[in-house]
Structures are given as structure tokens and as C-alpha cells.
């Protein structure tokens, strides 16, 4: 009886403690949201006060000055194509490496794994120099291509582990029935790998959607900017008028939050599975 009551109180204490920590985690977003509906003077005179009304002026301002639609579409194009290309090609490569374990393939695979330790900062200067000479800067297709290059080592590595678990008999049966290797891959192997594809896609969406340094070096002109770039430059040019800035930040966060609301379980699972490898 006594221990049960102690356990009950303990659970409550723990829940309250965790709730307090969670409040610490969430409060910056709350202040952001509150102030996004206020005029600049109201923000600077009292950032804690609630807005008088739901005033959308800041949002309209930010939406226009950030060229939100254009940046959103740029982010969407780069993220979707980047993630799709990485998943598709990395799965094919990993499959090929597992089923053809020649020395050459094994060394290539090891080189890809080893290259994961190279940070982007060690490559960015020559990267800009090379692609600048080739006239491929300020081009979002070049950016997507670079994401394929930077993203494939980790994706090949994760797929490699899972392709090993796909029974080779399954594929042999399909080959005997007359499928080509390409057909076998697309009809048998790739569908079986769907959970892995989901994990890799989630990790890559979080990375590419929020990436700043690489796109800031590649995309020069304003009409090519992705959301993080246009948010940052918007902040730089309007640094005195807090209202639209807050609204701009909310607008930038909003798409990811909406996706998170529905896909929260899968995103957390994806991070878990990606880390176990």
C-alpha cells in the first residue's frame, strides 16, 4: 500500500517534471507565434503580451517580401527530387554491390563508407571552384545533383545492410521466370525495401529541406532561393521590423510542422532505425 502510493506520487512528480522541461522546449515557438500577430511597437514594448486581434498584416507582408511561393516551390522541387533520386539510385547500387561481391565492388563500397567522415566544409571551397568553372552555379538542378552525390554514401550504406536480408532465391525465381535484372529489381527488390526507403527518405527530407550552407553557396540569384535562404536574407534586410520577421519565421516552420502532425510516428521511427545501423 505504502509503496503503491509512493509509486503513484513518483509518477506524478515525473510527469510534472517532464512537462516543465517540455515547456522549456516549446516556449520559443509560442513566443514566436504570439508576436507574429502584433505590430512592431507592441512587440518591442512588451513581447509577452497577447495580440489584440488576429492581424494578418505581418503575414501578408512577409509572404510578399520573402517571395514565399517561389521559395517554397524551390524547396519542394529540390527536396522531392533530391530525396527520390538518392533513394532510387542508392537502392540500385546497394543491391548491385550485395549481389556482385567482387573485390572492386567491395572496395568501392568501403570508399563510400569512409567518405562519410568528410565534412561538407572540407569540400565546399573546391566544389564552388569546380562547378563555378563549369558554369553550373546558380542552378537548382545542379544543387539536386549535388545532393545525390552527398547523400548517396549514407543511403547506400543503410540499403546495403537491408538488401542482405532479402532472400536471393526470391530474385532467382523471378530471373528464371524470364524477368531481366532490371525488372527483378523494380518488381521484387525495391518494393520489399519500402520500409528502408521510408527511413532513408525521412532522414534526407529533414536534411535537404533545412540545409543552408550548400544552397547558399550554389544558388545566387533571389528567384532560385530555397526557404532557409529567403528567410535568412529577409531577416537581414528587415532587421528592424519584428512583426513581419516573426510571421516569416512562422511561415517557414509551418510546412514541416503540418507534415509532422500527421507523420510524427514515422519520422521518429525513421530516426531510430537510421541510427541503429
Amino acid at each position: 500500500m505504502d509503496t503503491a502510493r509512493k509509486g503513484f506520487a513518483g509518477v506524478w512528480l515525473k510527469t510534472i517534471g517532464l512537462a516543465l522541461v517540455l515547456a522549456l522546449f516549446i516556449f520559443p515557438f509560442i513566443f514566436l507565434l504570439i508576436n507574429s500577430f502584433k505590430a512592431n511597437t507592441a512587440i518591442t514594448s512588451n513581447p509577452l503580451s497577447l495580440p489584440q486581434s488576429l492581424d494578418w498584416t505581418n503575414y501578408r507582408n512577409a509572404f510578399e517580401k520573402m517571395s514565399y511561393t517561389a521559395s517554397f516551390m524551390n524547396s519542394l522541387t529540390v527536396t522531392i527530387l533530391g530525396v527520390a533520386l538518392i533513394s532510387l539510385f542508392a537502392a540500385m547500387t546497394a543491391h548491385y554491390f550485395v549481389r556482385n561481391q567482387t573485390k572492386f565492388n567491395q572496395y568501392t563500397f568501403m570508399m563510400m563508407v569512409a567518405a562519410m567522415i568528410i565534412p561538407f566544409q572540407a569540400i565546399m571551397i573546391p566544389l564552388v571552384k569546380i562547378y563555378g568553372t563549369l558554369n553550373m552555379l546558380d542552378n537548382k538542378w545542379a544543387l539536386i545533383y549535388m545532393y545525390l552525390g552527398f547523400g548517396s554514401p549514407l543511403a547506400v550504406f543503410i540499403y546495403h545492410g537491408f538488401v542482405k536480408g532479402v532472400p536471393a532465391e526470391l530474385e532467382e525465381a523471378a530471373l528464371i521466370d524470364g524477368c531481366t535484372r532490371t525488372q527483378t529489381f523494380f518488381r521484387i527488390v525495391f518494393p520489399v525495401l519500402a520500409p528502408t526507403t521510408a527511413t532513408i527518405s525521412i532522414l534526407n527530407v529533414l536534411w535537404i529541406w533545412n540545409d543552408f550552407l550548400l544552397p547558399s553557396l550554389i544558388l545566387v540569384s533571389p528567384h532560385n532561393r530555397t526557404l532557409p535562404l529567403s528567410t535568412f536574407s529577409f531577416y537581414g534586410t528587415y532587421s528592424v521590423d519584428y512583426g513581419p520577421l516573426m510571421a516569416g519565421l512562422v511561415l517557414t516552420i509551418l510546412p514541416v510542422m503540418l507534415v509532422y502532425l500527421f507523420a510524427q510516428r514515422y519520422i521518429i521511427q525513421g530516426v531510430m532505425q537510421g541510427s541503429i545501423k
Binding site: 520559443p28 514566436l32 528464371i176
Partner: protein, 294 residues
């Protein structure tokens, strides 16, 4: 596995399956990496079409560049604090959220939220919190600690960076620790309880040793992200006040792209890469030695 007999179908399959990935990987990572090593032996200024070879001059300059080593020292200090604090907070959260508490999934989801947002946006949000919200609270409530902006004071700006980093990564590492905690087999913990082990003994002698793989992953990730920090540094403090919080990544960026000293900038980037590679590989090597089987 059935293989194509002819050389052409075999090559075609190889090209189709490995061509795009390998070509992109080579042209985006390996070629620039090697070319980068070459660049460190030149004095290219970013504009001129020609450059001359200068031998090891740039590496000599790296060791004389006091600002580089100062920001490297600052980064080391930053990494030390963030690795310890991020992992402690993350582990405690994970530990509290794997004991069947009601609503633990909501808590997990909540703590993960900062990871949905990139470092740039997080830094901008906290810039507002530090220079407006906290200052306002400090003035109204008479708390001197907050009454001036943390970002205007070199010491406090450094701690502001650490706080934001903890806030940014704790949720991500928590998820990895949760995965690790859930993989600790329950039967051995129960067996220990029957033998009379209390919670602390179980944690110290069983859970923690079995969690070593998770610690290796999380410490590796926090080390690497810490050394390479750029986004939050740029958007929260811009390296200021008076360059007092300029981390080494930002210094390399400025050397190359603002001072237009590409050879030196790349040499510093490579020195940084080598130092970080040695540190992280040592960490993984010694971590692996501590791994145990259940």
C-alpha cells in the same frame, strides 16, 4: 545469382545500377576533395584564371594564423560542453520516457520538434528570445542576469550558443537513446531484480554497459556536428560580439569566400578535417572496446 554471359549486357547492368550514384559521388565528393588538396598548394584568389604553386606556404600560414587557432580553441570548448550536456539531457529524457509513463509518446514527439527546423531558423528564433523576451523579463522582474542581452556580451553569447545547441540536438539524441534503451533485454533486468539489485545498480552494471553502442553513435554525431557548427553560429550571433563567438567553420568560410584567400582557407579546412577525423575515430575505437554482449 544468375549472371549475364555477354560482356555488353553485363556492363550495361553495371552502368545502370551503379553509374548514377558512383558518378555523382565521385564528381561531388571525391574529385573536389582531391582537388581541394591541390588547391592548398596554390595562391588562388577566387577570381584570377591562373594561380601559382606555392608549396607548403599555406600550411605554414595555417600555423601562424592566430585567429584560426583562437577560434579552434573556442570550438573545442564549445564541443566539450555541448557533447557532455546534449548527451546528458538526451539520456535523462530517454530514461524518463521509456518506463511506460502515460503520454510518453506525446513527450517524445514534443522534444523532437526543434529537429524539424533548420539551424538558421532556430538561431533567428532564439535571437529574438535572447535580445527581446529575456531582456524584457529581466527588466520587469529585476533579474540582472537577463536585463541586458546575452548576445551583446562575449561570455554570455558563448553560453547562449551552447543553450541553443542543447535545445536543438537533445531531442534527436533522445530518440537514439530510446532505441538503445528499448533494446536492453528485459529478462536480464528482471533476473537482476529477483537477485535483489536496486534501480541504480541495474542502471550502472547492466543498462549503461549495454547502451555503449548508442553512446558511440550519439557522441560521434554530437562531436562532428559540434566541430562543424555553422548555421546556428551565423544566425544567432553572427560570430559576434566583436568576433568573440566565431567558430572555426565560420572562420574558414570567411577566409575563403570573404577574404578571397582560397588556398589558405582550404588548407585550414583540411587541417580541421584531419583533427576532427582523428578525434572521432579515436572516440569510436575506444568506444568499441567498451562494448559488451548481453
Amino acid at each position: 545469382m544468375i549472371k549475364e554471359k555477354e560482356w555488353w549486357p553485363r556492363l550495361r547492368t553495371r552502368l545502370l545500377f551503379t553509374g548514377p550514384t558512383l558518378f555523382a559521388f565521385l564528381t561531388v565528393m571525391i574529385v573536389p576533395f582531391i582537388y581541394g588538396i591541390y588547391l592548398t598548394f596554390t595562391n588562388w584568389d577566387g577570381i584570377a584564371t591562373t594561380h601559382t604553386l606555392v608549396g607548403f606556404e599555406n600550411y605554414g600560414k595555417v600555423f601562424q594564423d592566430e585567429v584560426f587557432w583562437k577560434s579552434f580553441g573556442l570550438t573545442l570548448k564549445y564541443v566539450l560542453f555541448t557533447v557532455i550536456l546534449v548527451n546528458t539531457v538526451a539520456f535523462l529524457l530517454a530514461f524518463g520516457l521509456t518506463r511506460g509513463l502515460k503520454g510518453q509518446n506525446i513527450f517524445r514527439a514534443g522534444f523532437f520538434i526543434p529537429n524539424l527546423v533548420g539551424g538558421i531558423v532556430l538561431g533567428l528564433i532564439w535571437q529574438f528570445i535572447f535580445s527581446n523576451v529575456l531582456v524584457f523579463i529581466g527588466e520587469k522582474a529585476g533579474i540582472p542576469l537577463f536585463s541586458t542581452s546575452w548576445l551583446a556580451d562575449p561570455q554570455k553569447a558563448f553560453w547562449a550558443l551552447i543553450i541553443v545547441t542543447i535545445w536543438q540536438y537533445a531531442g534527436y539524441m533522445m530518440v537514439i537513446y530510446i532505441a538503445g534503451l528499448m533494446s536492453v533485454p528485459n529478462d536480464i533486468l528482471e533476473a537482476a531484480s529477483i537477485d535483489g539489485a536496486n534501480g541504480w545498480t541495474k542502471l550502472r552494471t547492466m543498462t549503461l554497459p549495454l547502451m555503449v553502442p548508442s553512446f558511440i553513435v550519439c557522441i560521434f554525431l554530437t562531436l562532428q556536428r559540434g566541430f562543424m557548427v555553422y548555421d546556428v553560429n551565423l544566425s544567432l550571433t553572427k560570430g559576434g560580439p566583436f568576433k568573440s563567438t566565431e567558430m572555426v567553420s565560420m572562420h574558414v568560410y570567411e577566409k575563403a569566400f570573404l577574404s578571397r584567400d582560397y588556398g589558405l582557407g582550404q588548407a585550414e579546412a583540411l587541417v580541421l578535417f584531419l583533427l576532427v577525423a582523428v578525434i572521432t575515430l579515436l572516440q569510436v575505437y575506444f568506444g568499441k572496446k567498451m562494448e559488451v554482449e548481453a
